[in-house]
């Protein structure tokens, strides 16, 4: 039997993929199906799930309502607002992370090989600390008596202008800062990888053919590093759409994202059926965005793999 397995390459492949396939099936596919079933259920008065086929949760998500004083029906924009807020935040985070991460990745990729590993190490060090703790650290910095206000106050005092501590915590800006901070390494690493793969003789060829530094960057470096940007975008955009910790801690009750909405259905409102429906909508929205994005830019592998 082992003899035959040694000769059969496709059987080997199947065997190697088996553990992961099982893992994904038990922990992804089955829960997903359960979520789908629950989302069509109804909440019992004491917070349990009554299995039935009801579209109530989806109708509620659309915002369809018959309780609107006078009119027969109307649309409540609440969930659209939350979804739109999540989308724009994910978009803004991704753009900022690219703008901040690309130059750093470029710098690391062009650094001396001996120093390169040290720099990469420094990018990764924050990831050793728990995600939640890092967000709390930002809370310490951003609050009224926090590090940033103390520093600003000291500066203002030095220059001699009156200073009012800024209200930074519990604002959309605070959430954005937290998100950018949390997800920056996930953009830097793939961009670095694709930049590092570029043969230095390509830069020389561009210079040889008459391109200055800016033209070389725009015509050669940037297009060849796009796979890294695309991969990084996928790695950043999708989690930002779903995460609730950053907005929970830094946004307070002011900045509610889809993630917070779902979390609260399960933990506060004790309505897993509505939470399930919202999760599925989030997933579908993310898939749609990712689909159009990857259809335009690919998964970021074409040039690298070619």
């Amino acid at each position: 039997m082992f003899q035959r397995l040694r000769e059969n390459k496709s059987a080997q492949g199947t065997l190697l993929a088996l553990p992961t396939t099982l893992w994904l099936f038990v922990l992804l596919i089955i829960p997903l199906i359960l979520t789908l079933i629950i989302s069509f259920g109804k909440r019992s008065p004491d917070g349990d799930v009554i299995f039935t086929f009801s579209m109530d949760n989806y109708i509620r998500l659309i915002g369809y309502s018959t309780d609107c004083g006078g009119q027969a029906w109307c649309i409540d924009p609440l969930y659209y607002t939350i979804l739109w807020r999540s989308l724009t935040l994910a978009f803004n985070t991704t753009v900022l992370v690219i703008l901040l991460g690309y130059p750093l990745a470029y710098f690391i990729a062009r650094a001396h090989p001996q120093r390169r590993n040290l720099f990469l190490f420094m990018v990764l060090i924050p990831l050793w600390t728990n995600f939640v703790i890092r967000v709390y650290a930002w809370m310490m910095l951003l609050r009224k008596e926090g590090g940033i206000n103390i520093a600003l106050g000291w500066l203002a005092n030095l220059v001699g202008i009156p200073f009012q501590p800024l209200d930074m915590l519990y604002t959309p800006g605070a959430v954005l800062v937290g998100m950018v901070y949390e997800f920056l390494p996930f953009m830097i690493l793939p961009i670095f990888t694709s930049l590092e793969k570029i043969d230095t003789s390509l830069y020389e060829a561009a210079a040889d053919l008459g391109a200055n530094a800016i033209k070389t960057f725009l015509r050669v470096t940037l297009p060849l590093s796009m796979p890294g940007v695309v991969a990084g975008t996928i790695l950043v955009f999708i989690p930002v759409m779903g995460t609730f910790i950053v907005s929970d801690i830094l946004g307070g009750r002011q900045v509610i994202l889809v993630g917070n909405l779902i979390q609260r259905q399960f933990l506060d409102a004790r309505d897993p059926t509505f939470g399930s429906a919202a999760s599925l909508i989030l997933m579908v929205m993310t898939l749609i965005v990712t689909y159009f994005y990857t259809r335009k830019f690919g998964f970021g592998e074409e040039i690298v793999a070619a």
């Binding site: 561009a206 210079a207 060849l224 040039i303």
Partner: protein
């Protein structure tokens, strides 16, 4: 127009090794490359040939000395302001661009019009026989075709000098031979100066008008292929290009055309041609003779440079028979061309056979010991 397309004067390039030592990758190199010449820099890896080329291209700047292009000192002129273009060893094609875009890149940087770009790219691709491949990506081409794209991309700029850094290194032998002839033909047709870096001596001999043999960052000899092969001026060149028999000796007497050298291993005086400059009577020298230039003879026909030896081994390789001999205490190899078609083993030399060997004085080079 300057007489020399490129000139290096006392050029030194120092590098710091990973261990922190200073290394002269290029060590006081002076050479003059004439307009329209096919000039090769030949040497094994680490001899400084590629670094020299990169300094002409402008990718590196000399630590000392100066590079002149068309008579003008280059100083720290960046590559894109030099009228030279490079064909890279790895081709360095832009994988995200088509063949057309690759070749057009240099013209776009010049700001040429769309029509002109089209015309010149078509012409350049025609020169390297790649017409019809415009829309392919480099990955869709064979190694030889990619190499041609790299040549077209450099030539489309109509440079004064084309620099080629081991451009055929990645190709298989047959294709390499074809491309050698094609590049040479292209160079003659265009009349552009080519500076060609290679470690392959046959390639250098085949293609070049002149060759600079380099080792350890220094130029060992500059000359035509014939000069380099027939009159190597030092033992390194004699050994690096082709093969040679070497005998150490002491210079006994010297005139313009004749040098007498006492060779202890042969226990005799050998008469040879003084090739190295500045030979001094009484100094230690090296006598060098190419294996194909030694004559095996049954009878003594000369009073000098004739020795008796015993055959220790023979190797038949088709075109030649390699005969290895012990002559006195020296070892000698002789390549005899198989001029006559024959099968009888008795017609070949046999091991143990006693023969005479002649070292013709005009083939026996007396070189300065290094």
């Amino acid at each position: 127009m300057s007489e020399f397309a490129v000139e290096l004067r006392g050029v030194v390039k120092k590098f710091i090794t990973p261990e922190g030592n200073e290394l002269n990758a290029v060590d006081h190199v002076t050479m003059q490359i004439r307009n329209g010449e096919f000039f090769s820099m030949l040497g094994s890896s680490g001899c400084g040939k590629t670094t020299s080329l990169r300094m002409i291209a402008g990718f590196e700047w000399p630590t000392e000395g100066e590079v002149y292009i068309e008579g003008k000192p280059m100083g720290h002129t960046p590559p894109f302001q030099r009228r030279v273009n490079t064909v890279f060893q790895s081709y360095a094609l832009f994988q995200h661009m088509t063949v057309f875009e690759n070749v057009a890149f240099g013209l776009e940087m010049e700001g040429s019009s769309k029509d002109e770009i089209k015309k010149r790219v078509a012409h350049a691709l025609g020169m390297v026989q790649l017409t019809g491949m415009e829309r392919r990506k480099p990955k869709q081409l064979s190694g030889g075709q990619q190499q041609r794209v790299a040549v077209a991309r450099a030539l489309v700029k109509v440079p004064d000098v084309l620099l080629l850094d081991e451009p055929l290194g990645a190709l298989d032998l047959k294709l390499r031979k074809e491309m050698q002839l094609e590049l040479k033909a292209l160079q003659q047709q265009l009349g552009i100066t080519f500076i060609y870096v290679t470690h392959d001596q046959e390639e250098a001999l085949t293609m070049s008008d002149r060759i600079a043999v380099m080792s350890n960052g220094k130029v060992q000899q500059i000359g035509t292929p014939v000069e380099i092969y027939e009159r190597p001026t030092n033992p390194f060149v004699a050994d690096f290009i082709g093969e040679s028999n070497f005998f150490a000796g002491t210079l006994k007497s010297l005139s313009k055309f004749e040098a007498r050298v006492h060779v202890p291993l042969l226990n005799a005086e050998v008469i040879g041609l003084p090739v190295s400059a500045n030979l001094v009577n009484g100094e230690d020298v090296v006598v060098s003779i190419r294996p194909e230039k030694v004559r095996i003879a049954e009878k003594e026909t000369m009073s000098t440079n004739f020795f008796r030896g015993r055959i220790t081994n023979t190797v038949y390789i088709g075109t030649d028979t390699h005969v290895y001999l012990d002559v006195c205490d020296a070892k000698l190899k002789v390549y005899e061309q198989n001029r006559i078609s024959r099968l009888d083993p008795r017609s070949f030399y046999s091991v143990g056979q006693e023969v005479g060997v002649m070292l013709m004085p005009e083939n026996t080079l007396v070189l300065k010991k290094e």
